[in-house]
């Protein structure tokens, strides 16, 4: 008994679970699947074998990305070990066949080694660790908290030896918990963009023409909204400065190619390689129900393609609307850790000209090409008060297109979750917004104003609209398609 206890005390501290035998390996893989219970705890440990979610270049969360903290890892490690402990007990294993007996003996080995009397103590320890893991998961699930924590630590780097903490949020005011206060104060400030890509990073010495205060770049169009969001047109920005300011940003581009829409991928990806965020790190996230039909397009340096399998829906309206659900789920699970900015676009499009760092902002929307000149009463908002996407006739700034929006991952997550919840509530009430996810997007962007607005240069349809003179460039255009054929 004493010897058994001594052996427990000398037990190595919790660490990654190492498979002890073949049967153990099989159980190990099972445990990998089980660890996906809590959406917020998608750890890179244990390294998922062949699941297609690991980086080929091994970038391990550089910069201000969300990393699972040590407590979570330890907690889950121990909780998984305890699950394994369960499996090792005789009551749970299948009756040993003569062939498997030898293997079983190996499996039974560890337990008999530890001694029977040590198990209650060990199980108690494991229970405590499981609770630890659970609670740290719970707290890390508060959205936005992590990002703030990250940005604080980066600020702290500058203040070594000076001030203790320089909070970016006014946590001296009132007793409101950090997460809730963050929600209100991040209305539309630059808070949520990762610190090293916020608008005040250092730019190297550069030579470029000087802007003239008395000679505006564009006089024929609105270049700034009343809430100070720039409207991005050609002639309004200097691409060299912006590329330098955002040089450390990683951008994710999400696109959905469901059912027959996979045919659009080839042109989309090839033109993206020529025009989208050149010189930056880019990850294409292709969501499809036909992974084998995704074309192999040669990618430039620092760019990669990730294919993610999702289910399809029979109605094209549902395919469109469920995108919000998928984006919010994957943002939480992956994108927060892998990229700084997310750009969510339609797939039946092609890039024709530069789409670069000028679009990056905490939250941006694009003007729908059909409504840039329309009065707000003519916008095709959802007008029925019963729907969650309802906008009254005397409200509205612009009509934003559902096919091009984005921002920092935290803001896109917020947007997608809000839209998804609104659509679910509508579905429960038996109502569907007139333009589906686009209606909900418009409602969201009315009350949480975007920090940048992209002009119709960034979303145009040549075949449906005559090109006006103020549109100096067409950057992202619709590919002609037969609606009836492709949707059914």
């Amino acid at each position: 008994m004493q010897a058994g206890l001594a052996r427990v005390q000398g037990d190595p501290p919790a660490g990654p679970l190492l498979p002890q035998s073949e049967a153990g390996t099989a159980g190990h893989r099972q445990l990998v699947e089980k660890s996906r219970f809590c959406l917020g705890t998608d750890l890179r440990w244990p390294p998922p074998a062949g699941s297609g979610s690991s980086h080929p270049d091994g970038t391990d969360g550089l910069g201000p990305r969300q990393e699972p903290d040590l407590a979570t890892q330890v907690g889950l490690a121990l909780s998984l070990r305890s699950e394994r402990c369960l499996q090792l007990l005789p009551g749970h294993l299948p009756p040993p066949t003569p062939l498997a007996r030898g293997r079983l003996r190996g499996v039974m080995g560890p337990r008999s080694l530890w001694g029977r009397s040590a198990s209650p103590r060990l199980c108690g320890l494991l229970l405590v660790a499981a609770c630890l893991g659970f609670y740290s998961n719970v707290f890390s699930l508060i959205p936005g908290r992590r990002q703030i924590g990250e940005s604080q630590s980066t600020e702290g780097g500058h203040l070594q030896g000076q001030a203790e903490v320089l909070p970016l949020s006014p946590d001296s005011h009132g007793g409101a918990p950090q997460g809730v206060l963050e929600e209100t104060t991040t209305q539309w400030s630059e808070r949520d963009c990762p610190p090293d890509t916020c608008r005040v990073p250092e730019v190297p010495r550069m030579v470029y023409p000087k802007a003239q205060l008395l000679k505006p770049g564009r006089t024929d169009v609105l270049v700034m909204t009343p809430w100070f969001a720039p409207v991005i047109w050609e002639g309004v920005f200097d691409s060299a400065i912006l590329d330098a300011q955002f040089r450390n940003a990683t951008i994710g581009l999400t696109v959905f190619a469901i059912k027959k829409y996979v045919v659009f991928l080839e042109l989309f990806l090839r033109t993206a390689e020529k025009h989208f965020m050149l010189g930056h790190r880019v990850t294409y996230y292709v969501f499809t129900d036909r992974p084998s039909d995704v074309p192999r397009v040669p990618l430039g340096e620092g760019r990669r393609l990730v294919v993610l399998e999702v289910r399809s829906y029979s109605r094209w309206q549902d395919v469109s609307m469920r995108r919000m659900e998928v984006i919010s789920a994957f943002s939480r699970r992956r994108f927060l850790r892998e990229v700084d900015y997310l750009v969510c676009v339609d797939v039946d499009m092609a890039f024709r000209d530069r789409v670069g760092a000028e679009i990056l902002a905490p939250l941006f929307g694009t003007l729908h090409p059909g409504f840039y000149a329309a009065a707000r009463s003519a916008f095709t908002y959802e007008r029925r008060p019963r729907s969650r996407a309802h906008i009254p006739a005397d409200e509205g700034d612009f009509y934003y297109a559902g096919g091009f929006f984005g921002g920092s991952v935290a803001e896109v997550l917020r947007l997608a979750s809000a839209c998804q919840q609104a659509m679910a509530a509508d579905r429960a009430d038996g109502i569907e917004a007139v333009w589906h996810d686009e209606s909900h997007l418009n409602r969201y962007l009315l009350y949480r104003k975007p920090a940048k607005v992209l002009s119709p240069e960034y979303l145009w349809d040549e075949h449906m609209l005559r090109r006006p003179p103020f549109l100096r460039k067409l950057r992202f255009v619709a590919v002609p398609k037969d609606h009836a054929a492709i949707r059914h």
Binding site: E155, H158, Q162, T184, Q187, L213, L222, P226, P230, Y447
Partner: protein
Amino acid sequence: MLCPAMRCHRLALGLGFCLLSGTALCLLCNMELRYKGEKPFQPVTQSLYPQPKLLEQRPTELLTLTPWLAPIVSEGTFSPELLQRIYEPLNLTIGLTVFAVGKYTRFVEHFLESAERFFMRGHRVHYYVFTNEPAAIPRVPLGPGRRLSVLLIQRHSRWEEISTRRMETISRHIAERAHREVDYIFCLDVDMVFRNPWGPETLGDLVAAIHPGYYAVPRQQFPYERRHTSTAFVADDEGDFYYGGAVFGGRVAKVYEFTRGCHMAILADKANGIMAAWQEESHLNRRFISYKPSKVLSPEYLWDDRKPQPPSLKLIRFSTLDKDTSWLRS
């Protein structure tokens, strides 16, 4: 006595149950917290304001966006009601630092009175007056939610010294105190007066104001420090705007970084026995080239009353007081 195998069995079952319930709770809390943490539709503004017109003539002749997409704030580019309604619920506190050393204490009264009329009305404001003579600072009646703190600093013999010490004082003050008390901070010159509303349109991460004397001249004529030996050196082909040292601000964290950076550069120059042409304004300009401001204020926000007001500037909000500079600095 229970058979050891059975006891372990029970323990194992108990542990398994705990884990299962823990996981279920985790899932539930996941959904709960997600819902609480995100407030989907907070109609912050049910405001009724005119729809922005994409294709109409702009109401200002000034440039409204810098090449790095920072807004240039001037009258007509923003809607004060919309901004007020967006910023009010955020309950921000804005700090305002001024230096009133030696004879400059005579400006404090007028400055504070005009600030009470025009600076960030409807928001919480905290004035920080740095002086070597606290007794000389008059008690100006303040509105609700507005406070005044008088802070003692050392007086230096030369006025240039006083001027260059501001960066150090501001950064130290933010680190020790202001970061706890305010969200945004503005650092203004005291020998000026507010003439028209200065509101939340000026809030941004890092805010600079264009100097009224140089907004219409090419960059080669900007009075940058041109000696290579100074850390504030700017080459002929560099520079966006010439910013005034009398107005800058932003979020406390960003202003801290900025002032600290300037202070370090000033120290380096001091070690080399050189003082920049326009003291801290030169260093401020150097830093604003590398760390571009996220918002720029037009000369409406920093005007010199001795100059005739051009038609392109519609509303002067903050300008100089006529004064005898040589006497003041003696």
